[in-house]
Symmetry: D2
Subunit: 340 residues, 4 copies
Amino acid sequence: MINLRNDYASIAHPKILSKMVELQNNTFVGYGLDEISDAAKLIIQKEVGQLNAEVCFLVGGTITNKVLISHILKPYEAVVSVESGHINVHETGTIEQGGHKIITVPHHLGKMKVADLNRAVMMHTDEHMVKPKLVYITQATEYGTLYTKQELQEISEYCKEHNLYLFVDGARLGVALTTEHTDLTIKDLAVMTDAFYIGGTKCGALLGEALVIMNEEMKHEIRYSIKHFGGMYAKGFVAGIQFKTLFEDGLYYQIARCQNDLASNLTKGLKELGVKFLMETETNQIFPIFSNEIIKKLEKHLMFELWEKGENESTIRFVCHYLLTESDIKKALEIIQEQL
Amino acid sequence: MINLRNDYASIAHPKILSKMVELQNNTFVGYGLDEISDAAKLIIQKEVGQLNAEVCFLVGGTITNKVLISHILKPYEAVVSVESGHINVHETGTIEQGGHKIITVPHHLGKMKVADLNRAVMMHTDEHMVKPKLVYITQATEYGTLYTKQELQEISEYCKEHNLYLFVDGARLGVALTTEHTDLTIKDLAVMTDAFYIGGTKCGALLGEALVIMNEEMKHEIRYSIKHFGGMYAKGFVAGIQFKTLFEDGLYYQIARCQNDLASNLTKGLKELGVKFLMETETNQIFPIFSNEIIKKLEKHLMFELWEKGENESTIRFVCHYLLTESDIKKALEIIQEQL
Amino acid sequence: MINLRNDYASIAHPKILSKMVELQNNTFVGYGLDEISDAAKLIIQKEVGQLNAEVCFLVGGTITNKVLISHILKPYEAVVSVESGHINVHETGTIEQGGHKIITVPHHLGKMKVADLNRAVMMHTDEHMVKPKLVYITQATEYGTLYTKQELQEISEYCKEHNLYLFVDGARLGVALTTEHTDLTIKDLAVMTDAFYIGGTKCGALLGEALVIMNEEMKHEIRYSIKHFGGMYAKGFVAGIQFKTLFEDGLYYQIARCQNDLASNLTKGLKELGVKFLMETETNQIFPIFSNEIIKKLEKHLMFELWEKGENESTIRFVCHYLLTESDIKKALEIIQEQL
Amino acid sequence: MINLRNDYASIAHPKILSKMVELQNNTFVGYGLDEISDAAKLIIQKEVGQLNAEVCFLVGGTITNKVLISHILKPYEAVVSVESGHINVHETGTIEQGGHKIITVPHHLGKMKVADLNRAVMMHTDEHMVKPKLVYITQATEYGTLYTKQELQEISEYCKEHNLYLFVDGARLGVALTTEHTDLTIKDLAVMTDAFYIGGTKCGALLGEALVIMNEEMKHEIRYSIKHFGGMYAKGFVAGIQFKTLFEDGLYYQIARCQNDLASNLTKGLKELGVKFLMETETNQIFPIFSNEIIKKLEKHLMFELWEKGENESTIRFVCHYLLTESDIKKALEIIQEQL
């Protein structure tokens, strides 16, 4: 079985585990106040070009979204997200658990358009409705697509003009930053947003995400909210070690680039076989369409997710991760070719 | 510096890290649905003597408490805890974030007495007050003390008679089970409670806790609540590997026993030096009392927490962990002797 | 100025105030446990044909929706509502404050279709998404339209088959029950739903709504939730007196019928003047369309709400209430005719 | 039966009902934006000596406490209250429903001492605990006692020095302001606090409380929170009419004074009969102690609440309200005398 199901299927990158073994006899101060976490924060501050940014490590993406959003919003304020946004679909109502409404707008290949955002904002006029206050987008999106620098710039400007916060969920930020299809750097992201997070779990880390906050108001007492909503590590150094390892020598980008390249080759091979796609691929998620009959056969050899079930044919999702090799991709293509 | 500050100061026990390295090229199904997690659950079910128990792995103790409590309580139902209970003091209002009041009763060396519990229950008579519905206790307690089998039995019976759930926070369950001062087994615990958790973080795990649920009503859809409140791992297997390693050959108990033995020897040595204690020690936390002057000097050589500050003398807390050796304890005693 | 803005513009029906004056020297037991409240409950139980129904009086519609929904749902369970549903648009996130997501489906003249409901239910398959558990509809809808007996029957059956609760917001139930366009009785409603509420505020009451619960599970400890979420009257008898007065001699229906008749005559008159409508009228809300120029002029003589603003012409909303007379309607029509 | 049970036992003061009857054919703008509400607000602003104060009318005391507290606190911030505080005991966890912990301190005849407050504040030192941010007290207290000007001044100064908000629950503010035992005016209260509310329900109103906010930050978007937490009237004018009537000619104080005088005479009479009290009386609540045998007999003739049950003798609570007359008090005393 070749595992094309997701990019969080393995324990952690060998370099991370090896670093942990190296340090296993050391003791550290708890709750992220240790020196390695400090070092990891400094590396990330430099990486994003914001030495005053607050960098916090949290245990997972869902809790990171909730902490940041609940920390900054007043009870009656709401988040705006595309319908396909992770917080709206796949977090089992975590944002609502924090008391906040998600106002949804249509997505365009997973992305938000300013015109839709504006329509939503304009509809909320008084205290009988929630007040839109924070815009949530994902980069890469749930469809593996990307905001261009221009697109993000437009959203960012709209937010500033309308006194809205802008927060980017970067669960898959690595592949977004390293694909040839992007013109948006991590430094751009830091300039254009109030906060974003750098996803570790889906890019080689054992677990954990790095929340990066530029907005002063958001920084204030953020550690209280991290603890209050249950996102704080006792062993904060476990995150610090991982992010130091990922960012001190570019390992994060190397893993992400590998994941993109594999997906790109898989796409190329599938196109040569005449396979159709739900949409063009920009990162490590791809969405080929097969007949339901073929899908049934593929399931015996490949692990993947069914994305959109249709009567006769369906879309499936392949996700490439760093443990795969070019020879796995080649083998997967052969398996598919046999079924066509 | 000898680190006597806490038992979550190191990354993880070498056997756990070595297991992770061994498996680093494998891929797993996500969200705890993998085979290793299944194996770990089975081992724990056998260990607690309840093959029908639901076992779930969560990322930390605070979120475990919140998930279980919020999952089972109706909005107006409340938890009863001693004033010194972890959920009441050191979780930054996480239970209240879930909407529930904590009704507090006085503690006796960290423990709850049935008479106090009964008084609290009797005071809540109608819908103008919250309804007490779940009793929360910790074993070992925040003061390192233990409920005897008899004491837990009494609380358990009271709960059954009054239709209350009983939940035990086992963040330090390892040291509670392995000290010579206890007559309470993990099987007893499973029989007498509706749910409890086995703390990994403070007993050699990298991070993570194992929630064990006997009560059928609590089991129902618990995975929804784990996700909803932000306690679910994407990489569930990371927890599964740890708990399998900890429980398949008794490593968990071995670590805990080591932590207790070190504390016991430290206590013995301190007593020989004439040091007073806030209370008798039963597990790996001990609470010696020194003059503030001496404490200041000790801080240069030892890491520890200030527990209760007084005018002239104060209580400090030493916690023993598995990375310490008998020679560290000896050295610590020498350092202390020098200051007396 | 003729007030066509809403049906909660006056203090209360004279018969209610006169009853209050009559009883102003009496004292009553608090919190709705008085004899007049009991009498009012019995009248309503008989009226809905369910002598075992639980009847509770709450201070307002928004809090009634929240209490019922939060009382019965588990934290991760969600409400399904049409996009135009009052809880989704005009309650400032009250349901989300209680921690629950509202899953929205498209509306058809304000109404939910079973096919849309089914699509939403089918999409929510596992613990990574909220679990749809309660269907919320309004009768009459926010557009003044009505579910037919057949339509409600279909939704009711779907809910029973899929283990969903059905709750009807009856803020404007009076006009829904008394229009000639309906075939649905209050007894039907009680048979087909788990709970609904009878709106007082928009039908002659000073304030207050009567929540009627048939579902046994929902009845359990509902008074705790009413208090917990802030919906309980200290002076419960103030509600009891009102609902007794409204229902003992059919005053409720008389007020509602009056409101419908006025709206019907206004519609008829407007049609004779060639005015277009956004949709057909079934109750006391009507939605005529005028040029923006005319609307500006009408504002000098009539009070109404702008419903949907367009470039050249817009929809406005007229709501008829019991204080208006046929001569007010005639005068309003003359004013409009002058501007056309 | 003479009703000495509470001060919310009658519908409303005749002057209020008569004003409502007078205006019953008028229509008003909804949601408290009408002219009578504006007039009522202005009268109250003048009364408290703060023309910039924000005045809002809410449906009840419990929801008023919740709205103000949840509006201003960040998720991890907590309220400090005496153990006997209404929000802590008799609101069924409403503050916790809003996500906030109540830190309790001991009460002294229902009142908070600065020393206790300081101890609680000092104990909360970092992000592992909630952050005390708002002090909640009641005037008159749940025991009918009063803060003197000096006592309130001390609390107020402590709050300013420690960056804490001060909020006073004035459910029984009327009797607090009109007793001869007080030296604290409503103008003092406005100077010394960030917000307080003037209770209507327990002083002649049909229902409703007037929230008065001096603190600018608290004023900001308060109407959003009032709606969000379910405390907004559709018919805001119903509150406006009441508070205008209560405050334009001193009716509020007249009712309160009457309630105090009756209680004072009742106390005097009881003392002459040799009856003991739990504590000295300052307002309209008094707490006499009788043998349980006598209490049983009194229940046949008088309505009252059992306050603290003892083995042989118990404390009961008598509350005087404006519908009672001196002859009722005399009769009550005779009834009691007969049983002694």
